[in-house]
Symmetry: none
Subunit: 205 residues, 2 copies
DNA sequence: GTCTATGAATAAAA
DNA sequence: TTTTATTCATAGAC
């Protein structure tokens, strides 16, 4: 096809990352002369050490986060409550409805059919195997979920009750990164199975 | 205090919008022949009318929003509390820490916390697969973290041949939700460890 | 669910 | 701040 005139790029392909980086660096050197190292690699999920950088990014990302929250509430007609404390302790908050944050959060105890409830059902129904399912309210039931359940088991076997909030957050991050890596590999290996093994999202809205 | 939601300046120049749109449309016609209207203009900030589309968008944007919230809390060392109710009334939440936010969530204390116990019991009952020890209690634990990271990655790769992308994504979701539930309980039980695994900086802004 | 082109967010610099 | 180059998120099509 004669399309993609000029800028067809494979996104998120790890193997091309180095090359891209090098080209960018080279270009920077060429044009700027002495200023290099201008562009970043991928953002690492780790606390930013430099105080100034951290503050600048906080401002930018906070803005972006609030914008996203606002868009979600409008586009999808969802209720959103967001509270952020800067490292300095300053409070920023957003609530989609005209009620207070406390009221929104307070609804947690009034909503019986939540994700937490779904987890309860899943745990209760599990026999022998840890069939952790988030939406198994309706129809389909796990069939060949054994592999996935193994991971769920391992994750849950961690004595999660002994972990601090920071540890939980760290674990979450680690899992996310690991999965991202595995997914990237899967993407390069066409041997993957593309099947859908789990129940569909419940049709109730 | 209300955040300046919606007051961000668009980097792009408005006057170029039409031109860009037209070029995209023209390109689409050229390349696809019969496939048209494939690309979007910029997102309109109003409620999505189509139910299916709205549901799909909700899932995608919710994921993105929670990821952003998580990243902000880690990168910028901020405290973030996010609660989202889907149009169906389903609850999704994320909290980076219990400090200072605890009072806001004070009314959530009545959430049945049997879920955590159920999960742990289910996991223990199906033990025998692997026993994992987590130790992130040190202050600067590059070794432990790296070790855990390796484990997580290795564990995931072991069954990567058997796992589809869908399964990986599902697992990620499960872990996230489970951790959210655990965090919710942590907030109600401050007697748990509240230590931080990472180094602290003295001069917080 | 996956895939991919494109709009949007944003890190670094000005 | 504003600009720019790049990564990131995601709408639309499967």
């Amino acid at each position: 096809m004669a399309e993609d005139v000029g800028r067809r790029r494979m996104q998120q392909q790890q193997e091309e990352e180095e090359d891209e980086r090098l080209k960018a660096a080279a270009a920077a050197v060429e044009e700027g002369g002495g200023k290099m190292k201008r562009k970043r690699g991928r953002v690492e999920l780790r606390r930013i050490e430099d105080r100034t950088s951290r503050q600048v990014r906080f401002s930018k990302r906070r803005s972006g986060l609030f914008k996203k929250a606002f868009e979600l509430s409008v586009l999808c007609d969802a209720e959103v409550a967001l509270v952020v404390f800067s490292p300095a302790g300053r409070l920023y908050e957003f609530v989609s409805s005209d009620t207070s944050v406390e009221q929104i959060f307070g609804r947690c105890k009034d909503i019986p059919d939540t994700i937490i409830d779904d987890l309860n059902i899943a745990a209760r129904d599990s026999r022998g195997y840890c069939n952790i399912q988030l939406d198994l309210n309706e129809q389909s039931v796990p069939e060949s979920v054994s592999e996935l359940n193994s991971f769920a088991q391992m994750a849950l076997e961690l004595d999660v009750k002994e972990m601090s909030m920071a540890e939980l957050t760290r674990f979450e991050e680690i899992v996310r990164e690991a999965l991202a890596a595995v997914k990237a590999r899967l993407r390069r290996d066409p041997q993957k199975k593309g099947d859908n093994w789990s129940g569909q999202e419940s049709g109730k809205e």
